[in-house]
Amino acid sequence: MSRKYLLLILSFGALLAVPSVIHDTFFLRIITEAILWIGLAISWDVLAGYTGYLNFGHGAFFGIGAYTTALLMKLCGWSFFLALPFAGLAAGALAVIAGIPTLRLKGAYFAIATWALSRAIQQVALVMDITGGPDGMRLPTFLHPDFFYYLMLGVVAAIFALYWFLLEKAPFGLKVKAIREDDQSAMSLGLNPTWIKLQAFILSAVPTGILGAIYAYWITYIDPASVLGDLVTDQAVVMAVFGGLGTLIGPAIGAIIIYLFKTYFWAYLSDYQVLYLIILGGVIAASVVFLPNGLWGTISGYLQTRNAVKQKPVPQEKIDKGVHHV
């Protein structure tokens, strides 16, 4: 466990140093976007991997965050940092409104209901005047690569840490998993599944809205197709599944690999423009067939079985401690 921590802290430290090593703003942009996708993949996985609910409308939270920021900055003249929390709040509010009815649905029905909802929201943005309809919105331009890099890194690291604490350390994580495994049994043990699922939904939505806000300010232009389309959800799903559901590290690894793979093809093999679709599609399909637990799931599964051989019996002092407590 401590090894894992060490690795995480080391990579975070390395990431902090990136702008002082890399002066190429394109690379910085690529890394910034890779970090954005890590955030989106893990926030999707909070619901999918930990509670088993496949949200195919994840992009709606992202878009709501982006539009909230754009509207507050343009119409109310707010500063970005003032608008930022409201982007999270708006996404959280949507999670509550959408979550209470939809979380009753099971399996594919939940997936399709959330997807339909996100489509409906996209249509709303397309027909409203205040959002510019299909023309989208332009935000004040503030193009400072280091600023966005550190902002994205800071926010995603905070999200990661928050998730890590809540899902892997705090009681909440076990409760959520209990509901994923068997909600009837969980109910009989005093857990209110609706409430816990709703909490997980909010936990997934708020950071996504904040990431949407950063995206909007960073790219300076948003429209219904780019922030409310299927792309955000589709890509986050693929990354999380490829990396391995139900963990935080899996989707993060998935995000990095898929994003860099796609970007490499895009940047350097552009003449084979459609080939990348074929290859990306092939990688996704093959990974599902050959790595049903995702990349990280497979690796850690392998490590576990290897370690299981050497596993020590339960330490006696732990048992004693428990008994002593009686």
């Binding site: 076990l174 068997d182 109910m187 043990l189 048992i319 401690k321 008994v323």
Partner: protein, 241 residues
């Protein structure tokens, strides 16, 4: 006699016009072990589900410690002190045995550390401590049934509903479980148990309630009930006249 801990008053539960449970009444006093028996499809599990809050009764009332709990959701009842097991065991398969029990412990010990200590203690009593770090899915059937009881116990219930925790076990395992049940009663936990194996029910129950076609057809000490003609007929498959 002290106040009844649980009072079931003329409870009816119907599914699409069919009475799964019809006007059943009985009570349990603290410290008792009550056996709930009846042929297949008699409505035992449905009654369990009604008492533990998974179904709301269509008619009738359930009082727990004098408080009306009919229609309250299971997670509220769990906190009030009603623990239950499932006939078809429901471990959290992807989690470890310890984690399974910790989750139940949260009801009384919201802090992770305390919950974990509590869980260790429970596993010690139920004899699963040596399997604490194994995946729940790797347990044998006996282990899973034990885990089921451990989880219910971790709630520190005053009333424990056990749904066929002995059925399917070999004689040694069964004896260990019976011992466990009796020791729980000695700790002051009141128990309502559904069991198919007559030997078990008749040996450990203070009283038994017999259901057939959703209705209560007999109630009393095991010895008397075993002689009841209606009960015998029900078990022999003939409808009572």
């Amino acid at each position: 006699m002290s106040e009844p801990l649980l009072q079931v008053n003329a409870v009816t539960k119907t599914f699409g016009g069919l009475h799964a449970v019809f006007q059943v009444s009985f009570h349990i006093t603290p410290g008792e072990i009550i056996g709930l028996i009846g042929p297949n499809g008699a409505g035992k599990t449905t009654l369990f589900n009604v008492i533990s809050g998974f179904y709301a009764p269509n008619k009738g009332q359930i009082l727990f410690n004098g408080q009306d709990i009919s229609g309250k959701p299971p997670y509220k009842l769990a906190v009030l002190g009603i623990g239950r097991t499932f006939q078809v065991v429901k471990p959290f398969a992807g989690l470890t045995v310890l984690e399974n029990v910790i989750i139940a412990s949260f009801a009384r010990h919201p802090k992770r550390r305390q919950a974990e200590q509590h869980a260790w203690m429970i596993l010690e009593t139920t004899g699963l401590a040596d399997r604490a770090n194994a995946q729940a899915s790797s347990l044998t059937l006996a282990g899973r049934k034990r885990l089921e009881v451990s989880k219910a116990l971790a709630l520190e219930p005053t009333l424990l509903l056990l749904d066929e925790v002995v059925a399917g076990l070999n004689p040694t395992e069964a004896d260990r479980t019976i011992e466990l049940i009796l020791s729980l009663r000695d700790q002051g936990i009141t128990i309502l148990i559904v069991e198919h194996i007559m030997r078990v029910i008749m040996n450990i129950s203070d009283r038994v309630v017999v259901l057939n076609f959703g209705q209560k057809i007999a109630e009393g000490v095991p010895r008397d009930v075993a002689k009841d003609s209606g009960v015998i007929q029900a078990y022999l498959g003939e409808a009572p006249q």
